[in-house]
Amino acid sequence: MSKSPTTQQNAVTVDHFRMDFGKKTVIKDLSFEVKKGEVFGFLGSNGSGKTTTIRALLGIYQPTDGELLINGEQFSVSSGAKLGYLPEERGLYKKESVIDVMIYFGQLKGLSKADARQRSEAYLERVKLSDKASTRLDKLSGGQQQKIQLGITIMNDPDLLILDEPTKGFDPVNRRLLMDIIEEHQRAGATIIFVTHQMEEVERLCDRIILLKDGTSYAYGTIAEVKRRFNGMSLDDIFIKVYGDENEPEEEKK
């Protein structure tokens, strides 16, 4: 199927996406675009369907209806898209050594073994974990494991970086590292989709945002546009206004 020039120019195109799990509709009708090179904030309360949308975009879920495209094509593992994905649910092969796991993921992302090793060693040097290269992952602290996971996410210099609640559970040191990495990739022209509840991070990093509510887009545009729609309220206040009526947030049910 040939795509329109606009679709091909977008890093991500979501067009009338609908997602049902059995009788439950998680996403009713969602459309938005992420332009190449922008940092896009994907906002919503717990259970609003952010992770579901990301998973459908990455081919992990089959959408019930609609189209989700990366660079104008449906994502597949062999499509050649240079992708970095840091999921909300995180973990690594805990009984393997740091370097073995990094090389493995590097190879899975299309790097040669030598290249994967070289990039892994360079990253470990950067985050001052070179002496841990041969250490089993479960022997590292939680913060050190987060660094490794982050390193794996960006190992292939992704054109599209998808970070699902990336600062969740991060200590201040790793949060700073993450922000540095986002800014580096932003400068290098990568597209970044940023799922978060941290409004100060959104304000600082994002070019445009979307707010998801009840399985559809509640607000969508540049931060300034969204703020104008809410009479100049801060993003924090907008978030409370939009989602404050929801009782105890429910975990996303898949």
Binding site: G59, I60, Y61, P87, E89, G91, K254
Partner: protein
């Protein structure tokens, strides 16, 4: 099959690096080695007992109520004759005498009593050896050699049986096809748990979501299954090589029968049937165990289902005699054609030669379909269960949910 080779290499390499793999892999040959070592030392003890006795300063007292023991032999062993049983036992107890043999009046009805001081687990057997040899050598001159051989069971027999007009050696015939049955038993016993947990690890470690953006679920599962097959071959070699080397180098010391390997009949069709059943059964249970692992959130929960699978696989062993004696009974047919119970009955029946070609063909078709379905279900379950971190996958989810991608 994007990234299949990468997954395969990673899975094989990391398993081979685990100590637990090598401990499990070598446990079987080590156990066999220990058993053979015991046999070796036991044989050595018995055969050298008399020689040792002659060479050593070895004090023996004998009471011969049977009148069978040759007095000259008693002298050769530097033994003394005793008339007081209890006094001799007391001397052994006090350590003043190495051994005391009491030959009763009628050795065919009463036991020969041996009292001796402990010289170690393996050497204690030599006392009985000496007592027995004294008795045998004492009576040997009064019996002609042929009678002695007959009574000692040292007569060789050569049997030739015929089946369909051709010589047929049932025992030798079952060796080649029977090897597959033994291998299947060993592999399932040793690898079953690894098959089961091969997919739970990704879920337990929460690594699956990152993996699925780099590789298709189907490719990941196939890579894992290929790695399991290679590891199984490594396991088989670890088991077989020491046994073959041990047999070739230590056959005489271990008193193993001298098999002329070239005399083992090779029936290509029966071997092919066993090999096909073996491969399909292995794939069926690999698929089944991987599917269970994929459907359950943790290895611990998967373990509960593992027991049920083992009952299906090995339960038919309780009906072994039925498979041998009544191959056409309804129960044998059911167990042979029901995929989960089929491997052992089929391989056993084929080994002993009572699996008809028709039954074999039907069973192979059933197993092939079942293995394909099991592997397909394993992939589907993995796909659906991959992101179920905290609950066991329901049948409804597996077969009715259309939202997720296969």
């Amino acid at each position: 099959m994007h990234n299949l080779g990468t997954v395969f290499q990673f899975e094989v390499r990391r398993t081979l690096k685990k100590k637990s793999f090598w401990i499990t892999a070598f446990s079987f040959p080590v156990i066999i080695g220990v058993v053979f070592a015991i046999i070796f030392f036991s044989n050595k003890t018995t055969s050298q007992a008399a020689e040792d006795t002659k060479n050593e300063k070895f004090s023996i007292a004998i009471t011969d109520k049977s009148g069978l023991i040759n007095k000259d032999l008693v002298k050769q062993f530097n033994a003394t004759e005793s008339t007081d049983k209890q006094a001799s036992i007391d001397q052994v107890t006090a350590g003043k005498l190495d051994a005391y043999f009491y030959y009763p009046q009628d050795v065919s009805k009463e036991r020969v009593e041996v009292y001796a001081k402990d010289v170690g687990l393996f050497d204690n057997g030599r006392y009985e050896g000496v007592a027995k040899m004294l008795l045998q050598q004492s009576v040997a001159p009064s019996v002609d050699p042929q009678t002695t051989s007959i009574l000692q069971g040292n007569v060789g027999f050569s049997s030739t049986t015929y089946k369909d007009g051709q010589p047929f050696d049932g025992f030798k015939e079952l060796i080649a096809p029977g090897i597959f049955l033994v291998l299947f038993y060993i592999l399932i016993t040793m690898f079953g748990n690894q098959m089961l947990t091969s997919t739970t690890e990704e879920k337990e470690n929460r690594v699956i979501e990152m993996i699925l953006t780099t590789i298709e679920a189907r490719t990941l599962i196939i890579g894992k299954i290929f790695s399991l097959i290679v590891l199984a071959v490594v396991q088989i070699l670890i088991i077989l090589v020491p046994i073959v080397v041990g047999y070739l180098l230590f056959r005489e010391q271990l008193s193993l029968p001298n098999f002329d390997l070239t005399s083992i009949p090779i029936d290509p069709l029966r071997i092919a049937i066993s090999a096909t059943i073996f491969v399909l059964s292995f794939l069926l249970f690999t698929g089944l165990l991987v599917a269970i692992g994929a459907a359950t959130p943790t290895a611990k929960e998967a373990g509960g289902y593992f027991g049920m699978v083992m009952v299906f696989i090995f339960g038919p062993l309780y009906a072994v005699t039925l498979f041998l004696s009544q191959p056409d009974s309804v129960l044998v047919k059911i167990l042979s054609f029901f995929p989960l119970t089929a491997p052992i009955p089929l391989m056993l029946r084929n080994a002993v030669g009572n699996l008809s070609h028709t039954d074999a063909l039907i069973a192979i078709v059933i197993l092939a379909i079942s293995a394909t379905v099991a592997l397909a279900v394993a992939v589907r379950m993995f796909r659906y269960g991959a992101l179920e971190y905290s609950r066991t996958l329901s049948w409804n989810t597996i077969f009715k949910k259309s939202a997720k991608k296969l």
